[in-house]
């Protein structure tokens, strides 16, 4: 079975506007990726746990010690627009969601 994917939905989530040609091409490419994942599922026996990380390491942490921050000027250096020491961004018409 060839898995299908809703390219329009994925594009909307990624805020991408696709041409018809891109939609068709990406749809094909994404289907290939899904197929590959399906093949992995075939080989993986039931006793193989899902792998979230390829390297078996846990608890990589850092001490709660302050390190250097950027200078205020450097922090804003690449901002397309800045105002009052803040990054200026286009108006937000709809609250997408918060953390």
């Amino acid at each position: 079975m060839t898995p299908t994917i809703d390219v329009d939905h994925v594009a909307r989530l990624a805020r991408l506007v696709l041409t018809d040609e891109e939609r068709e091409r990406f749809g094909r490419q994404l289907a290939l990726i899904l197929e590959h994942a399906d093949r992995v599922r075939e080989v993986a026996a039931a006793d193989v746990p899902p792998t979230s990380h390829p390297i078996p390491r846990a608890n990589v942490l850092r001490a709660d010690e302050p390190g250097p921050s950027l200078s205020h000027e450097d922090a804003l250096a690449n901002a397309p627009e800045a105002e009052a020491g803040m990054f200026r961004v286009p108006p937000i018409t709809e609250r997408e969601e918060e953390g």
């Binding site: 989530l13 990589v60 942490l61 302050p66 390190g67 921050s69 205020h72 009052a84 997408e96 953390g99």
Partner: protein, 496 residues
């Protein structure tokens, strides 16, 4: 206040009684020195974009590393709520586009949070209730957005400004079960939650500064109905009192909708502090698709059980236990015990003061006059000029009759302003009450002579008339007479 019942009905025009179901989601900013995944300082009120670096600004190629202090704090929070500390938990990416997160995703936890299945015991109107806690998970805070333009609100803004000082600050989310049955219970839960976090010393939990934030899910259903009603999420409540007000309003609104034969719409509503009402923010047309996936840049968390047990053993006394101890050991009334036990600074102050005087008097004056003075001055107990020894002295002088309540009030107010010792204030201001009958007799006789009316009434059997005579005596002695002695003296002189 307190709700008379856990139901919101019956309402006019219907016999149906409704039951309210509430669940709370609380976000707590941890008071670590640095952010969750980088070494930028975690401080409130710094100039915009001064505590930022390539990691928290989401620059390409940077790698986050979790703050071990934050992990320790969340494990301690989980233990305080009696949660299970997961032997294996993961960070996930929560993907969404909003400029308050420069990475376009927030690092959070999804199906494998650090702490699961705990509870918090609260007391409402003297009745104990156990509120389930679904999960406690670790994530990072977002930046702060200022909507600029004509209205200052999201709608109609011309542009927005982003300050990323807060982006990446360690944030703990605590999700309750839908176990709360009234706005008063929600308030009790939040108060207890806040006190517990304060006792743990993991956050300063200031709702007005946003280090404690709360969203509420609320629905109503006819009593006895097995399924929950349609829930509404309420946001933008910035004090515990606001949460209770918003829920009270929303509960009434939903009951009104149902009683009128309508249907509650699942939506997010915004609480307006000035009107005390909630308004719809826009219905959720499609469910958000956050495309959670395991954060590849962060390793799993697998806390060493021995370390967890050590943290458990080192937990401080929590407010619920402290409250019980204050009631039992010091015989302090429940309401006062709750106030004193809720805050570590207050509890320590109380115990020190109560060691040298009648604890009930200390508790009474701390939760009464001292709390009032602090409130008026707008300062915290830690910043006050009076310490435990002032309260000890005050309680002692009250207990042995050296000062009256009025004298104590004046002495405390003066000491609060100057920091001077209570004994010195009492001496300097002549606040010691005169209990010596010989010294008071002349004044008492004078008042009797000057007030024939009340004297007549008292002799005629009207007990209350005595008060009309005590007043002038107190006035003539500048408030220094011991009212009990005056009362006895008047009675003796009049019944001769």
């Amino acid at each position: 206040m307190g709700d008379a019942a856990t139901t919101a009905g019956p309402v006019a025009g219907t016999d149906t009684a409704y039951e309210t179901v509430i669940g709370l989601e609380c976000h707590v900013e941890l008071s670590t020195r640095t952010k969750m995944f980088c070494g930028c300082r975690n401080e409130f009120g710094a100039p915009p974009n001064t505590n930022v670096c390539p990691v928290c600004l989401g620059h390409p190629g940077t790698l986050p590393v979790p703050n071990e202090r934050a992990i320790e704090s969340i494990v301690r929070i989980g233990l305080a709520f009696d949660c299970e500390i997961a032997p294996h938990s993961l960070f996930h990416r929560k993907n969404y586009f909003y400029p308050d997160m420069p990475k376009n995703f927030q690092i959070s936890q999804y199906d494998l949070p650090i702490c699961v299945g705990g509870h918090l015991d609260v007391e409402v109107d003297g009745e104990g209730r156990r509120i389930g806690i679904t999960r406690v998970h670790m994530e990072e805070d977002t930046g702060k957005t200022t909507h600029a333009g004509a209205t200052g609100r999201i709608a109609g803004a011309d542009y927005a400004l982003e300050d990323y000082n807060r982006a990446g600050v360690p944030l703990v989310e605590i999700v309750s079960e839908p176990d709360l049955r009234s706005p008063a219970e929600a308030r009790a839960y939040l108060t207890e939650l806040r006190a517990t976090l304060l006792a743990l010393g993991v956050s300063d939990v200031r709702m007005e500064e946003g280090s404690l934030r709360c969203d509420a899910n609320i629905s109503v259903r006819p009593v006895g109905h097995p399924e929950f009603g349609t829930k509404v999420e309420i946001k933008n409540m910035n004090s515990i009192r606001s949460v209770e007000r918003a829920l009270r309003h929303e509960q009434e609104r939903q009951v009104g909708v149902l009683a009128g034969g309508g249907r509650v719409v699942q939506e997010t509503r915004h609480f307006d502090e000035t009107t005390g009402t909630t308004t719809s923010m826009r219905s959720k047309e499609e469910a958000f698709d956050y495309r959670y996936f395991p954060e590849p840049d962060l390793s799993p968390l697998e806390p060493d059980p021995a370390w967890v047990e050590r943290l458990r053993a080192e937990l401080p006394e929590l407010p619920a236990a402290r409250r019980r101890r204050f009631e039992q050991r010091y015989a302090v009334p429940p309401a006062q015990a709750a106030t004193l036990a809720a805050d570590h600074a207050w509890a320590a102050f109380f115990e020190e003061a109560a060691a040298g005087a009648d604890p009930r008097l200390v508790a009474n004056w701390m939760t009464g006059d001292l709390a009032g003075l602090l409130n008026e001055a707008g300062i915290e107990l830690a910043g006050a000029k009076v310490g435990p020894r002032h309260l000890t002295a005050l309680a002692r002088l009250l207990a042995d009759g050296t000062i009256s309540s009025a004298g104590a009030k004046a002495a405390l107010a003066e000491a609060f302003a100057t920091g001077e010792a209570i004994e010195a204030v009492v001496r300097a201001r002549g606040l010691a009450q005169v209990s010596d009958e010989g010294a008071l007799t002349a004044v008492v006789d004078e008042v009797i002579a000057e007030n024939p009316g009340p004297v007549e009434q008292f002799r005629g059997g009207k007990e209350g008339a005595l008060n009309a005579l005590i007043g002038p005596v107190m006035k003539k002695t500048g408030g220094s007479a011991n009212p009990q002695v005056v009362r006895d003296l008047l009675r003796a002189r009049l019944s001769r």
